[in-house]
């Protein structure tokens, strides 16, 4: 129904804080764009600028091809789900959902029909007569979603909508949000600092750091080809192992494949690393071979994380199933050449 185009958007707060320093993102129609990044990197600020809740200091924001810089939140035809849900405490669930429609002068029977059908989709029918304080956290979250959906806006904005839920419910709601967004086909911007949420939800993933976009693209592309050490260490759990290279050498390496001249950091994912105590020759030529000392093992059921130390640096290996490894063991680990990532001294991929 609408595209969202940000061009060199900047935000300087009244106190002089530069929260967003020139961000350009083009979100196509019906896409779900996830903004992810560490705390304080400007995600909420960016989202609030799209909503019209913060002024845009420089650059432009266009919704559906129309620049909305000077248009207030009331006229932008967007809906937002807040982290604390921001339900109107003095209104029943029904009125919370109907409020936006009433303000826009929708006829009464249409309001009723829309509220009830939305409530049905979200399984809120039996809660319509309750006040927000009489709901559980998960139910409040659904009402907040319902309030956004019922209006049928051009764009959905979500600011960490699931961060107040427990892990299990969060997983459920994540799937549900994704399905809803797909079936409604509403362009959405979703802010989170949970990288798992970001990976699973996004059509377009935007990794932000200190007010700038570090990388944007499809989640798997970003996972497979992180553009910088920041992205590499932010996306993926546990994060990518990053080991410093000193003039082309790596401490603790038994064999090291050819290293690009400008590389100063070597990276590989914990799951791209194997542990083998014998049959070293079975490993393809040109693989990275490391001699590591085990510091600890974390079995989590289906897989185990082996925390190791190599040449004074820490790294993690992700092994399927259980392992018979004890702290203090000396191990050989291998990573295929094509699974290696190299980063320059500025942190950028080479």
């Amino acid at each position: 129904m609408a595209t969202v185009d940000l061009k060199d958007v900047c935000k300087v707060y009244a106190g002089g804080v530069e929260a967003v320093k020139g961000v350009s993102i083009a979100i196509p129609d019906k896409a779900l764009c996830v903004l992810v990044g560490p705390s304080g990197c400007g995600k909420s600020t960016l989202l609030r600028m799209i909503a019209g809740l913060e002024t845009i200091s420089a650059g432009s924001c266009a919704i559906d091809g129309k620049v909305v810089n000077t248009i207030g939140p009331t006229e932008r035809d967007i809906a937002m789900v807040f982290q604390n849900y921001a339900l109107y405490p003095h209104m029943k669930v029904y009125d919370n959902m109907a409020y936006g429609l009433r303000n826009r002068g929708t006829p009464k029977d249409e309001i009723d029909a829309r509220v009830r059908s939305t409530a049905k989709t979200l399984e809120l029918e039996h809660l319509l007569e309750r006040r927000p304080r009489e709901l559980s956290g998960g139910q409040r979250q659904r009402v907040a979603m319902g309030r956004a959906i019922v209006r049928n806006p051009k764009v959905f904005l979500f600011d960490e909508p699931l961060s107040n839920l427990d892990a299990k419910l969060r997983g459920q709601m994540r799937v549900e949000i994704k399905n809803l967004q797909r079936s409604l086909g509403v362009t959405s911007v979703y802010v989170t600092h949970d990288q798992l949420e970001a990976m699973t939800l996004a059509d377009i993933l935007v990794v932000m750091n200190a007010g700038l976009v570090e990388q944007s693209g499809s989640p798997l592309d970003i996972y497979e080809k992180p553009a910088s050490t920041f992205v590499a260490s932010f996306i993926g759990a546990p994060p990518m192992n990053l080991l410093p290279l000193r003039s082309g050498h790596l401490e603790g390496a038994v064999t090291l494949p050819p290293v690009p001249a400008s590389a100063s950091t070597l990276g590989f994912r914990p799951e791209d690393c194997e542990i083998r105590t014998e049959g070293a020759d079975a490993v393809a030529d040109g693989a990275l071979r490391l001699l590591v000392e085990v510091e600890g093992v974390e079995p989590v059921g289906a897989e185990s994380f082996v925390y190791c130390r190599v040449g004074g640096e820490r790294m993690v290996v992700r092994v399927p199933g259980r392992v018979e490894i004890k702290p203090g063991d000396q191990l050989r680990t291998y990573a295929r050449q094509e699974k290696l990532h190299f980063f320059g001294s500025d942190g950028k991929r080479v």
């Binding site: 939140p73 009331t74 937002m80 003095h90």
Partner: protein, 294 residues
């Protein structure tokens, strides 16, 4: 609500509240019971003896047209005072909420009138609006208004209401500012996104959420108008002209200390006491049930 602390010891709690109980008994219950007793006595014209007359004083007071007039005056006066004080304070608080720069100074200035003693406040208004020397009265006459609160009962009422409300505005303002700050900003933002303009947001979100504060202030203001405005009325109009601004409290004073009809005056104060107890009871009931959203 946090769970109650339970003292296993039965004696200690009483000991701890004893000073408070003693003060309440000596300074509240004892005078109150004296008033109750006095309200059933009638003195002879020379004040030499008194006899017990049961409820005769009440019957006399309640059938006295002057007293009924006083009730009416009090109703008009307290409703008007509370309404003016509340609405002005709310307006100022909403505007203060929008002030970005030197907010603190603005708020502090708004609070000052509260520190002015009632009689002084009354004098202030009296001087400003005195028909012969008041500067504002001069202005009003210049505007063509026939301003003479010393003769016109209605104008006198306007004057005392203005003075009484002026005094209470700062207090209300403080509470409204705090109440406004307690409303989460995200609610206002959500309402804006939901398509509500500023006026609509105020009436559908802000005002309902301020209801607990407003109701609390309504009771406080009514009680204030009933009981604490004696100084202002005394200074500004002295209950006149005629009995146009003679409120219940003022009449208690007039009958008791000026006219020395002690029995009637005591009966009136007992009636007042009943009124204040009723008001407080309503407040507790209503505040706890209706206007809390949690």
């Amino acid at each position: 609500m946090s769970p109650r602390v339970v003292f296993p010891n039965t004696f200690l709690p009483y000991l701890l509240v004893a000073p408070q109980l003693a003060i309440t008994l000596v300074f509240f219950y004892w005078p109150a019971s004296q008033a109750l007793y006095q309200s059933m006595l009638r003195e002879d014209p020379f004040g030499l003896s008194s006899r017990f007359v049961w409820f005769a004083n009440f019957r006399k007071v309640l059938s006295d047209p002057n007293y009924l007039n006083s009730i009416e005056v009090t109703m008009v006066f307290s409703t008007a005072t509370a309404a003016v004080a509340l609405s002005t304070a709310l307006l100022l608080a909403v505007m203060a909420d929008k002030v970005v720069r030197s907010r603190a100074i603005y708020r502090t200035l708004m609070i000052w009138p509260y520190a002015v003693a009632p009689a002084i406040a009354g004098m202030l208004w009296l001087f400003l609006f005195n028909p012969s020397i008041g500067s504002l009265a001069y202005g009003m006459r210049w505007l063509g208004i026939n301003w003479d609160p010393l003769l016109d009962g209605r104008q006198a009422m306007v004057l005392v209401v203005a003075a009484a409300a002026w005094k209470q505005i700062s207090y209300n303002f403080l509470f409204f500012v705090a109440g406004l700050q307690a409303i989460p900003k995200s609610l206002i933002e959500a309402a804006a996104i939901d398509g509500a303009g500023e006026t609509k947001r105020f009436w559908t979100i802000v005002f309902p959420l301020l209801a607990p504060t407003t109701f609390f202030l309504l009771v406080i203001n009514t009680v204030y108008a009933f009981f604490d405005t004696f100084g202002i009325i005394h200074a500004v109009t002295g209950g006149g002209p005629g009995k146009a601004t003679e409120t219940l409290v003022y009449k208690v004073y007039n009958d008791g200390f000026v006219n020395l009809i002690l029995g009637d005056s005591a009966a009136q104060s007992v009636i007042l006491m009943v009124i204040v107890i009723a008001l407080t009871a309503i407040q507790f009931r209503y505040v706890e049930r209706k206007v809390h959203y949690g």
